[in-house]
Symmetry: C2
Subunit: 212 residues, 2 copies
Amino acid sequence: MFFNTQSLNELEQRYRAHLINSLSGFKSANLLGTVDKHGQENLSIVSSVFHLGANPALFGMIIRPHSVPRHSFENLLETGFYTLNHVNEDIVTQAHQTSARYEKEQSEFTETGLTAEYLNDFKAPFVKESEIKMGLKLVSEQVIEVNQTHLVIGELIALHCPDSVIQPDGFIDIEAANTVAITGLDSYHTTCKINRLSYAKPDSKPKPLVTL
Amino acid sequence: MFFNTQSLNELEQRYRAHLINSLSGFKSANLLGTVDKHGQENLSIVSSVFHLGANPALFGMIIRPHSVPRHSFENLLETGFYTLNHVNEDIVTQAHQTSARYEKEQSEFTETGLTAEYLNDFKAPFVKESEIKMGLKLVSEQVIEVNQTHLVIGELIALHCPDSVIQPDGFIDIEAANTVAITGLDSYHTTCKINRLSYAKPDSKPKPLVTL
């Protein structure tokens, strides 16, 4: 099948949303946890979190202001803190359900049965059922001019994960933590490791890494 | 295991890179194809492509100016066009090898054995071995102030994919196209579908979607 600008433009809106959302490749599955100044908690699945840098440890996230995560977005702007919690296989249905358009006074924790957990003195709620939990401080928020989406950037300031999934070189085996991947708007996937490959050099071929 | 800002800062640089790069979740695996004005082709694996919007169809990508994709970055700025080609299971090793620091006058197509393919009148090379191939026009490029990375945004203007992987509602089954996912800096994964889930509504529970 071939699509050009014209045939893409002519697609029915929902068809187009499914098609285009499938194209970037596999996406991360995170639950965005926030709380407002009055203690009202919010939880929202996001598939747009991406790595921005390791030093400092920065993550980007794209939010549409009129999308379901808008309450979470308002909360993180208000408090300056949020959590990102990996979605694992056991909580896929509950995580997906957080994308329903609940009212702001409804907590998706309560509505979906996921458990808010406050760890150390971090100001936003983590998801107890998640194995890999990140606490972030808001660093910047900017509008992407071309389509008026918002780019939220946060710095990792707290990380909780099981000892067993950290390999000797620092690599975290998120597959071993049952983290899932997303495609399109609604498809969830477990994974199966092919290999870690050695650092690529021009004069040799990559070899499978043995890290045990 | 718990890390706070101080213990994250104290990590050895390479360990830290592996750790932090593992945390965003599963990442997309794309080959970025470009050519400069003199016909010199370049190909580079990127794990930072993300969905930005469906209408218009926009994709973002993070590039470090001193990273391996720098030649590709220079080319796409020069010509205004680039391709993104899904990495599938059959070409994982070759795709990974494009991350070696070849000289600018070396083509990663030649060096890795992947095949440059020009389709219709699109100005940048696609990867013949890839099942899902996107041609993009550069829309904007901006520096992310907090760590001086570059955010490249492109609009999809050409899409090639097998008829068989497009479902009736527009969803593209990239798993059926053998597209792989990446974690960390060097780990490649195939996937296994759990389910597509129905559109979430506050008063009902998500159900598996049947799309056949």
